[in-house]
Amino acid sequence: MQTHKAKRVEIIIEAPMERRLRDTLSKAGVTGFTVLPVLGGSGRSGYWSREGQVSRAAGMVALVCIIRPERLDTLLQAAFSVVERHIGVVCITDCEVLRAERF
């Protein structure tokens, strides 16, 4: 089938920052994304898991955003402004999509 080149950006970030990331993306005109739950993880700040948390506050989420290649930099700039001081990871992959008009 006919597919179109795009970029898939995955941002793993602390749950209390999710709303801010969403707001910043919206302001940058990025309105398509999906948020996935995260059970636990490990990084420079050690290992954590939901089980060891009193509240959702200390958990993380993964935000996946598929975007046209030419808009990637806008997205990254916006995301970086939020992620900068915080823990978390930003990972970009080449991908292809059906229904390009959606992105």
């Binding site: 602390e14 209390p16 920052m17 801010r20 700040s45 050690g46 290992y47 954590w48 939901r50 089980e51 060891g52 948390q53 009193v54 509240s55 959702r56 506050a57 200390a58 001081r85 915080h86 823990i87």
Partner: protein, 325 residues
């Protein structure tokens, strides 16, 4: 003194404390016992709703008096000032940097609602009455400490500007809204309202508290295991000294206001307890440089068990002793 020890021993043998100990032991022994996140949140919604509602009903029942305003003010005052006391102690006792010390200090100005709930249940089992509006005092003490903590941190060179939106988030955080909301509902519907739902919020309350404390024990134990080496002896000392210091300030203010023995014990407990929900979430956003392991472990892993096991019986004993109640 022996009376206090007796109380502590009694307290130790209650199903509530033992459930906490079970959770703690299971986590330290690395059992895979766990309470699903959704269940833990459901239990805490139940506890907040029940404790708020019952507080409101008690206000509807006994009416409000002049002391309500004074108690709320005392709560606000303590939430604002306790972080400074805590900060001074931390700088004296530990080698923590400005940001970490400020973040920890904020937790000790705020309160732990489960510690409060445990104290009400100890009072209830000893048939000591308390002012119903202490629940409202708990609610107003949640947030102000955060402001003090950010101010303390900003002195250390951080910009400290509190992002717009964070305040709404802090003041309208779920626990505060639920606690205040159910307090108002209880107040509005009064004893008849309570009668309608008492077999839900009164009868099974203590049992639900057991399961919740089982989970708190698990979380505290996992936290302690995960943070071995992060904390020095100074920090742990702080987390054990600060509660009685806070309780003492609460005692003085409570006596000045003229609270009942029960109310006094609750105000002391609030002052002595440290937040582990509202404040950590705010700190992740506003002070991301502060290390969460430090403040969570101190608040949840040291101060919470200390208050639960020794602090509460101590505060209750002192409150009844000084008021001759």
């Amino acid at each position: 003194m022996s009376g206090i020890l007796g109380l502590a021993a009694d307290n130790l043998l209650s199903p509530i404390i033992l459930s906490f100990v079970l959770g703690l032991s299971a986590a330290l022994a690395r059992s895979d016992l766990s309470v699903p996140e959704a269940i833990a949140k459901g239990l805490s919604i139940y506890l907040l709703f029940a404790i708020g509602f019952k507080g409101g009903v008690s206000v509807a029942d006994h009416g409000i008096d002049l002391r309500l305003g004074l108690s709320l003010s005392a709560g606000l005052l303590m939430s604002f000032t306790l972080p400074f006391v805590a900060y001074a102690l931390l700088r004296a006792l530990t080698g923590l940097g400005t940001t970490d010390a400020a973040a920890v200090a904020g937790h000790y100005g705020s309160i732990s609602i489960v510690t409060f709930v445990a104290a009400t249940s100890v009072l209830a089992s000893q048939s000591i009455a308390a002012e119903g509006y202490m629940v409202a005092v708990a609610a107003v003490m949640e947030a102000p400490a955060i402001l003090s903590a950010l101010w303390l941190a900003s002195r250390g060179g951080r910009t400290g500007g509190v992002e717009s939106g964070l305040w709404r988030e802090i003041l309208l955080n779920g626990s505060i809204v639920l606690l205040v909301g159910s307090f108002l509902i209880g107040w509005a519907t009064g004893p008849e309202g309570l009668e309608e739902i008492s077999s839900f919020i009164v009868a099974p309350f203590k049992g639900v508290l057991c399961l919740f404390l089982l989970d708190m024990g698990l979380v505290a134990g996992r936290g302690l295991r995960g943070s071995r080496g992060v904390l020095g002896g100074g920090a742990v000392t702080f987390a054990i000294i600060m509660p009685p210091v806070g309780a003492l300030i609460g005692l003085v203010l409570g006596l000045a206001i003229g609270l009942s023995p029960g109310g006094l014990a609750l105000l002391m407990t609030l002052a002595a307890s440290a937040s582990y929900i509202a404040v950590p979430a705010a700190m992740r956003v506003a002070l991301p440089e502060a290390n969460p392991s430090i403040y969570l472990t101190l608040s949840l892993g040291v101060t919470f068990p200390f208050n639960l096991v020794l602090g509460i019986p101590l505060y209750v004993a002192i409150a009844t002793a000084v008021t001759g109640g």
